[in-house]
Symmetry: C2
Subunit: 242 residues, 2 copies
C-alpha cells in the first residue's frame, strides 16, 4: 500500500509550510495547510488526524501539525521527485523554468524509483532545481542552507541569487527579465523601510526597484565566496549551481 497522491501532497505541504514558519515556530497551523492544499479547513483536520494515526505527522489539536521522522522521509522523496523532474524538464526537455511546475506537480506522484534514478544520473546528481530549491538525497536527506533575502541582506553589497521561492509563472518571468535567476549577481543599492521597497542594480548595470513582498521571495547568498564564484561579468542566463 504505497501512499496515495493525496497523502504525498499533505506531507509535502506540511514540510514546505513548516519551512515558511516564523523563526522558532515548528507547528504549522491547520488553516495554512488547508489553504496551501486548496481544501476546506475541516478536510485538512480530518486528513491530518488520519496521518497522525499512521505515524507520519504529530498533530496537536488547535495548535497545528509537524512531520515525524517517517513523514519527513516521505516528504523528502516527494520533493526529490518534484525537483528532479522540474530540472529534467528544463535541462533535457527544453521547457522554460516558469512552465514546469504544473507538470512536476503531477509527475512527482507517478515516476518510479528506476526512472527518477535515471533522471538523477542523467543530470549528474544535481543539488538544486531551476528555482534554487535543494534536491533531497536518495535516502530522504535534505540539506537546507539558510539564506538572507533581498529584504534582509546588508545594503551596498553584491549578492548572488540562490533561490526564488514562488512558482507563479508571471513572477518567474519577471525575475528572469531582471536577471535575478539563481546564480546571477545583483547589488543592493538602498532599502527604504517606509516605502517598503528595495533599490537594486543588476548585472547589466540598470537599476530597478522591488517591493518588500517580491524582495522577500528572492533568497540570496551574501558570502564573498559566492560572489567570487558567480558568473563574473555578463551573467544573463545563469544556471543553478552544482
Amino acid at each position: 500500500m504505497p501512499p496515495s497522491s493525496t497523502v504525498e501532497n499533505y506531507l509535502k505541504e506540511v514540510y514546505l509550510g513548516v519551512g515558511r514558519l516564523p523563526a522558532g515556530a515548528t507547528l504549522l497551523p491547520m488553516g495554512q495547510l488547508a489553504s496551501a492544499l486548496g481544501v476546506a479547513p475541516g478536510t485538512a483536520t480530518t486528513m491530518v488526524k488520519a496521518l497522525a494515526e499512521s505515524g507520519l505527522v504529530d498533530y496537536e489539536p488547535y495548535n497545528g501539525v509537524r512531520l515525524t521522522a517517517a513523514g519527513t522521509r516521505l516528504a523528502a522523496t516527494v520533493l526529490r521527485r518534484h525537483r528532479l523532474v522540474e530540472l529534467f524538464l528544463v535541462q533535457v526537455m527544453g521547457m522554460r523554468w516558469d512552465e514546469v511546475h504544473d507538470d512536476a506537480e503531477h509527475l512527482e506522484h507517478v515516476v518510479s524509483d528506476r526512472l527518477i534514478d535515471r533522471i538523477d544520473e542523467m543530470l549528474g546528481h544535481p543539488e538544486t532545481d531551476p528555482h534554487g530549491d535543494p534536491i533531497p538525497g536518495k535516502e530522504g536527506t535534505i540539506r537546507e542552507r539558510h539564506f538572507e533575502t533581498l529584504l534582509t541582506c546588508p545594503v551596498g553589497t553584491r549578492v548572488v541569487v540562490a533561490r526564488v521561492s514562488d512558482q507563479d509563472p508571471v513572477f518567474l518571468r519577471f525575475v528572469e527579465r531582471h536577471g535575478l535567476k539563481p546564480g546571477q549577481v545583483v547589488s543592493v543599492e538602498a532599502r527604504d523601510e517606509v516605502a517598503d521597497a528595495v533599490q537594486l542594480r543588476g548585472a547589466d548595470d540598470a537599476t530597478f526597484t522591488l517591493g518588500a513582498r517580491a524582495a522577500s521571495k528572492l533568497l540570496v547568498d551574501v558570502t564573498p565566496e559566492a560572489a567570487a564564484a558567480a558568473t563574473p561579468s555578463s551573467a544573463r542566463d545563469a544556471a543553478p549551481r552544482r
Copy 2:
C-alpha cells in the same frame, strides 16, 4: 472536468479489447473488460453504464461495450501518450523495452499536452512505439495496419516482425534473445498444426521453435517491400520503423 485516470483506463481497455475480438465481433464482453482492468465484473458493469451515460461508449446489456466516436478519440489520446512515453523512455532515457510499460501506464494519465508534444517532436513524430504499436495522431486518428502473425503467415517466406502484442517483460526478453524485435527478419520454416508449434530461422541462421500461443503474439509484415527494406544482414538490434 477532465476524465479521471479510471475513465481513461476503461476507454483504453475497451479499445484494446475490441481490437482483440475475433473477426466480425465489435462488442467487448464485460467479463473480458473486467479482467483486463483487474476489477470485479460488477464494477465494470457499473462503470460502463456511467460511461454510456456520458456518451463515451455504447453499452448493450448482456452483450458488451464498444466505443463511440467521442470515446475512440479519448482512447486514442491516452494510447498516444502511453506509446510516446514508452518510446521516449527507451530512446531518450535509455531504458530497456521490457521495463517501460509500467511507468508508461502511470505517466499516460498525467503528462500535459505541452510535454507530450515536446516528446513527439523530440522523437521526430514517430509512427510506432518500441513494440511496434502504432502511435495515434495528435487529433485522435489511429491508423491500424493489418498484419499476419507467425501462426497465420505463409510458410517458407522471410517476414519482418512488425509488432509484439504482449507486454510481459519475460516474454519481451525472450523475443529479444531470439532476434524477434520489430524490424527484425525471420523465416518461417515449418508449421505443425498437431504439435501446435512453428519452426523458425532467425537472422543468425539458428532455428528454434515457438508454441502457437507465443507465435500468435508476433505480428509480421509479409509484403516483399518490407523484407527488402528491412535491415539486410546482421540485424541484431533493430529499432521500430519510422
